[in-house]
């Protein structure tokens, strides 16, 4: 007779646990979601050599600085014609991490007015990756800290969860 009460109860509790776990995961995922680039030109021009990094990963001042000197782009000449450069700069700054209504988590710890060029030097980025062993960065399939997708398999979709 007792099982008639216990079984539905157990099912209910199990369902609750599953829901809680799923919710928790969704929230964790939310925290590591950076809307991916949707602008076609930006995707094409920035994304042919590296992941088209989500604009919210840097403040507007950084994007302006970077787009202003594409000839010296981390050792490469990535210069574009003036019209293309202007259009991409506009998209990146409008969607930057400090643009109105954005408030990117990745910019936490960054002092006002700072305009870093490397996402990998942001205090929060460094903190989040401190447990990654040095040897992982030099692995042939990783080879560069700019290669997010080597570990974050859904990076192109904007998800940068721990893998």
């Amino acid at each position: 007779m007792k099982t008639h009460i216990i079984r539905p109860l157990a099912v209910g509790v199990a369902a609750l646990v599953v829901t809680a776990v799923l919710l928790g995961r969704a929230q964790a995922g939310d925290d590591e979601f950076y809307p991916p680039v949707t602008d076609k030109l930006t995707l094409q021009e920035c994304g042919s050599c590296h992941l088209a990094f989500p604009p919210s990963m840097l403040p507007a001042a950084s994007w302006k600085r970077m787009m202003g000197d594409l000839q010296h782009h981390f050792g490469d000449d990535a210069s574009l014609d003036a019209a293309t450069t202007a259009a991409i700069t506009r998209y990146l700054t409008l969607n930057a991490g400090d643009a109105p209504g954005h408030g990117s988590k990745l910019l936490r710890g960054l002092k006002a007015g700072e305009a870093p060029l490397r996402i990998t030097e942001l205090p929060k980025w460094v903190r989040e990756h401190r447990e990654v062993p040095k040897t992982d960065w030099t692995r042939k399939d990783v080879s560069s800290k700019a290669n997010c997708a080597a570990c974050h398999i859904d990076a192109a979709k904007g998800y940068f969860e721990d893998d």
């Binding site: 994304g47 490469d76 000449d77 990535a78 080879s143 290669n147």
Partner: protein
């Protein structure tokens, strides 16, 4: 009348059967031919063999981590390559990537960037034509 209709249908079929992008590629080759001839009156034709050598040779003038085209594009031009930041590069051979070299501005942009990286200078029209000849041959 029926004969006319027949030839019209045949003509349309021929037009549709043609590689859709051949025109743009031929224009590009014609442009490099004219430039190569202007630079050297003795120039006769592009050579796929010279193009392959350019692609595979290790050059000293460019950046140390990209001594050859194959540093990023890989040894097999029919297979995908990989940038140093981990992005896949579509195969360079026309047989594997049929839409390649159909946008002159794009071709010029990448020749400028990549020749500078690998050779430490821009490529000449002859080099560009040779290289394209090899990519179109395979």
């Amino acid at each position: 009348m029926t004969r006319f209709r027949q030839s019209f249908v045949l003509l349309c079929a021929a037009a549709l059967g043609m590689p859709a992008f051949a025109g743009e590629r031929e224009d590009l080759i014609a442009r490099y031919t004219a430039e190569a001839r202007a630079a050297d009156p003795a120039f006769t034709a592009f050579s796929a063999a010279r193009g392959e050598a350019l692609h595979r040779d290790r050059h000293a003038g460019g950046k140390p981590d990209t001594p050859a085209c194959t540093s990023c594009h890989g040894e097999d031009a029919r297979a995908a390559g990989r940038t140093r930041a981990g992005k896949a590069i579509e195969p360079m051979a026309v047989s594997a990537s049929p839409t390649r070299y159909t946008d002159a501005a794009k071709v010029e942009k990448w020749f400028k960037r990549n020749c500078t990286e690998v050779l430490g200078r821009e490529c000449t029209a002859r080099e560009k034509g040779d290289w394209l000849a090899w990519m179109m041959k395979q």
